[in-house]
Symmetry: C2
Subunit: 308 residues, 2 copies
């Protein structure tokens, strides 16, 4: 099969750190163009934005959007209306209404839309899911605590409405939990801690319940210095299952398991090639639904101003 001719829109940190290398390493897809306001890449056609790219006559089959979520709707809509398959970085958009509209548009156009959740492609996620399906679950608790100054230095958009604050990493945890749990869950309590000078939360404490009544808790915090914590702990009648390091390592009943080398973004591009080939879409927006619920149901606590 002829490789998919791909354009990347948004050549920021995530595109350079993850996407470029993953595309290079994936069969069936070639990077042929880039749209970025401030950056360019050698050996591919470069444009200032997606509209210039689409008007240029450069032939592409698909677009991968690596821009911040605010404003991504216009880009995705333009790409779909021009007949291009679309892959979305997480979170898939700034609102649920817009991502539901993109889902409808992709279906109407017969195009593939892939709302990616890179943490779902982490190495321990599928083994954990398979194991949990065989066990009797008792509870799940998420601890997702990192240092925002280290991971998001001076990323102003992340503190703006739509940038999601601590949910930017926290949604990764929710994307794993929604994948590995054998039943759905919904929020019953939410506390959001906002710095006095910011429009997005720096910490969140969430309590969910599954449909059958099991507790799922999540503590998200952006103020953790020293060792960083990205852990999901599942208590079962048969023992404890722990995913650490953002879903890349697995500990079962106290014993570290051997899982594959972590290759989140290569898995995503492999999956995108498969979706386009089969004419399918993958649009599970449930992690973003939980985040919207956390804001809607959230009790707000104000804390000291945050400066970068």
């Amino acid at each position: 099969m002829t490789p998919i001719r791909l354009a990347i829109v948004g050549l920021g940190k995530i595109a350079r750190d993850q996407h470029l290398g993953a595309i290079e390493a994936t069969d069936g897809i070639d990077l042929v163009a880039v749209a970025s306001r401030n950056a360019s890449l050698e050996n591919v056609a470069c444009f200032a934005d997606i509209h210039e790219l689409l008007a240029s006559g450069v032939e592409i089959d698909a677009v991968s959007l690596c821009t911040p979520p605010q404003g991504r709707f216009e880009q995705a809509k333009a790409a779909l209306e021009a007949g291009k398959h679309v892959m979305l970085e997480k979170p898939p958009g700034a609102t649920l209404s817009e991502v539901f509209a993109l889902e409808t548009l992709a279906r109407e156009k017969g195009l593939s839309l892939f709302a990616t959740w890179h943490s779902r492609a982490a190495a321990a996620v599928e083994p954990a899911r398979a194991l949990m399906a065989e066990r009797t679950l008792k509870s799940v608790s998420v601890e997702w605590k990192e240092d925002v100054r280290h991971w998001h230095p001076s990323q102003a958009w992340i503190w703006e409405p739509g940038g999601l604050g601590v949910f930017d990493p926290g949604i990764n945890a929710l994307s794993i939990v929604t994948r590995i749990m054998p039943e759905t869950f919904h929020l019953v309590r939410s506390e959001l801690t906002f710095p006095a000078n910011r429009a997005a939360p720096i910490a969140a404490s969430l309590a969910f319940e599954t449909k059958s009544g099991l507790p799922v808790a999540a503590e998200l915090d952006w103020r953790q210095t020293g060792p960083q914590t990205w852990d999901i702990r599942v208590e079962t009648e048969e023992g404890t299952i722990v995913l650490t390091h953002g879903g890349s390592r697995l500990i079962v009943d106290g014993e570290a398991q051997i899982v594959e080398e972590d290759r989140e973004y290569r898995n995503l591009y492999r999956d995108f090639v498969a979706l386009v080939t089969k004419g399918d879409s993958d649009t599970d927006f449930s992690p973003l639904v939980h985040v919207a619920d956390a804001f809607m149901l959230g009790r707000r606590i104000e804390t000291e101003a945050f400066e970068d």
Copy 2:
């Protein structure tokens, strides 16, 4: 056909003001039981809560939930699992995840689930919708301004997380706009004004865009004394369409139109009978999706404390 045997859960203000009379006036449905912690009704079986009701052996076919949205999931789930059709007051739940779960459960059980939006059943809504479909739209603006002290005296739950604050009435406007607009729209800017001592907003300023780029604005405010405003103004190439009085009156190009007498809740129960008879559901949650988006994308402004 044998009438549907209905139980009401929650015998508060909305049930007494609207539901009881509408059920009485509707063919095909009879009230046979009530579950309410603090109130009872003559001539029907009365229980403290839905679990007692379902365990009692009193035969019912359907349940109408008139309780506040927080905690309604457990009641709706219990009813559906017991094989009862369910009608939900607005808003349909405290979170999107829970209402999506109810939708799935109703489908699995082959039962009717009706997420009602009483303002959609107002007399001017369908005439406005039909007219808008024939015209070229330019913009929509909503003004929904009322006195919370008059309409929600001492309703503490409405100020709690999940109570939605000014979106409790404002979601009525959104339920009309989502019905009458010929295309979907999504939020692009949201400002929420919170009293210093409350967990829910007292005012909201929202800017949406339709898929094709038309502006939809909404100004919601709970601090309006004197005349109350529940208006939706639609500018079109051919003139102006205005819905006033919460969707019960229609003014087209400056001329008041004759519409039917307003009978919102009777229309809802008529529709519920039809859904149950046909084995269908009506679960358009888009007004609640917009509210969740407004919280997620909202910039918060603090204002003076509110006391009842």
